[in-house]
Symmetry: C2
Amino acid sequence: MSLIVQKFGGTSVGSIERIRSVAARAIAAQQQGHQVVVTVSAMAGETNRLVALVEGIIERYNKREYDVVVAAGEQVSIGLLAIAIEAMGARARSYLGWQVRFLTDSVYSKARIQEIEGFRIRDDLEKGYIVVIAGFQGVDEKGDITTLGRGGSDTSAVALAAALEADRCDIYTDVDGVYTSDPRIVSSARRLARISYDEMLEMASLGAKVLQTRSVELAKKYKVPLRVLSSLEEGEGTLLTEEDELMEKVVVSAITHNRDEAKITILGVPDRPGVAATIFSALADATINVDMIIQNISESGETDVTFTVPRGDYQHALEVLAIPVKQIGAKEVVGNRTIAKVSAVGVGMRSHTGVAQRMFNALAADGINIQMISTSEIKISVILDEKYMELAVRTLHDAFELDKDAGDRVIAK
Amino acid sequence: MSLIVQKFGGTSVGSIERIRSVAARAIAAQQQGHQVVVTVSAMAGETNRLVALVEGIIERYNKREYDVVVAAGEQVSIGLLAIAIEAMGARARSYLGWQVRFLTDSVYSKARIQEIEGFRIRDDLEKGYIVVIAGFQGVDEKGDITTLGRGGSDTSAVALAAALEADRCDIYTDVDGVYTSDPRIVSSARRLARISYDEMLEMASLGAKVLQTRSVELAKKYKVPLRVLSSLEEGEGTLLTEEDELMEKVVVSAITHNRDEAKITILGVPDRPGVAATIFSALADATINVDMIIQNISESGETDVTFTVPRGDYQHALEVLAIPVKQIGAKEVVGNRTIAKVSAVGVGMRSHTGVAQRMFNALAADGINIQMISTSEIKISVILDEKYMELAVRTLHDAFELDKDAGDRVIAK
């Protein structure tokens, strides 16, 4: 008998009617012969309501107590779902994070799961119960309630699937899978039937917001087959899995974009050891994440350093840099908020050459100037003027023939 | 250093503003040198909202899961209160029922507390924390969440005070104490500075709705000094305590009333053993509580049996009685829904005679007919026509001089 973990987000349990349809899906899976564990988020809007209550008291709140308040949202939805399942004639039992012991560290409001005790769940599954688990929350060694950060229910579901050695983890969401590109930009974008964990990780960190990154990392680590599918319509969704030969034949799987970045250049930086450390330590101390960094080789004893930061941190970064820039004796700081990042992702890049060339040629043919380039084993990212972003995404989607079935692509052969 | 348990109901934590004023009260008590534990209910309206969600799914719900849903209300209020206390500069930690282990039986939705583990609370108090505890909830031996029934937060507070051997338990509510009679009926009613547990128990079961009966029973059992006072205005409230000599000098402490009763008389009941058992077993099987029972001595071999039931169960009781009345061969069943019960309560009755006489004379002087009489060691109750209820309460309040200070009463000397 196979074991399936299903996860439903806040929209999917946002009303009594929707909770009933989640119950129906869980019961259907059980009737198909599976053991079923369901993880749910708080009802849509509930977490926001609770956060607003907390922030109504004080802006810089005690995080231990914040976790106590917001964890209550999932407590309501698991109880209601269990009641709905029982009302429809099946048997159900709900559990909170501390009851089936999602043991986490003590970093309140963004805790990490360390261990899950599965025995109580397994017992109930053996007895024929559908087990309903609160996502997003755990308990630390002291017995304090912790939460996993926004989107944490995805991570709960995957961690649970790993702990129970589930045959599959199905993440129900409001999109019907992972696409070759954003369908709102590229009308010919196609749903991917399968994608590797590594590709999904690159896509998640590049701005595709389907799954919490941590949940994909966990799925990769424990080899959990992870399916993303729609809770609103029928369909196969997209299966995240380990890469195989078929995937490696596909050079580029998807084109992603992200306009949440800004570029900063420090001009006339003296070329001596410790200079980069001074600059980036200052940003790290201010908890500003730096993404791409470029430094040109210098002949004159001076160089320019360019890097990108989240757009919301742009102004803060400029303020933070004032002192170190003076210290190191650099000339000037300039920046640009109207940039975007466009990336090609695919595990096939590992064994194929000419991907960068094809990408740069396609952009050049459309007159799009590339401001920065960064690469990993399975992705190439370029920074360009924000106004060209949609055009670049469409151009690259065409250039790598992503509108075609993988087998029909010239480049993949 | 003394230890105080404070309890605040839903109205007292019904908004951020009110939560702030509860926080201020707790901090003030700590600054006066006390160790402070605060027990709170869910924010006003929240429990009703959660119950409505459950009942929106199905009327006869799974009670284990019902408890999971409704216990979430207190989780929100303890976190918010702890945040408010910290925001005002003191230190606070909140705990749910399972965390400081309010161990209960497994009777979901009306569980009884069996034991409380106090060590975590004591540790925090020693360290200078104000400890905030969720009322209304506990955990059973299996680790399932349980709730104590409506009004259960009073019981949580008293049980906690008993377990921690607190010096006092202060129940903050929307009235400023226990009165000699309902001030809406008797304008000269006085707040009682002190009252014995036994008197309060009689008063609670006679219709005074200040405290959950179970909480007074616990306070009596563990000798917890219990104070009822207003969360809206300053005042000393009423202290519930063991009876002492001073109390015993007061013959009557309070006059209570209850219009939630109806009277049923079975006429022409054959006077033979087992007849009463047949009648009252039928009512017990239908979970109808019978209050007063009167049966006259019979000379003729026939008797009349009269008793009272809650007014809401009157029709049901008549239906339930149809068969047993036939079985025993009684003549007829008659009833009356427009009755009321008025009672005089006082521990001094134990050692004073003439109380009943004074009571009956006072009522007779105003032409009020007594339909039934029932007595205990510390109370005398009469059933009368509902329309005389207010008059009877005022007459008795005067007759026992409850508008006067206890020392000035003629009858008390």
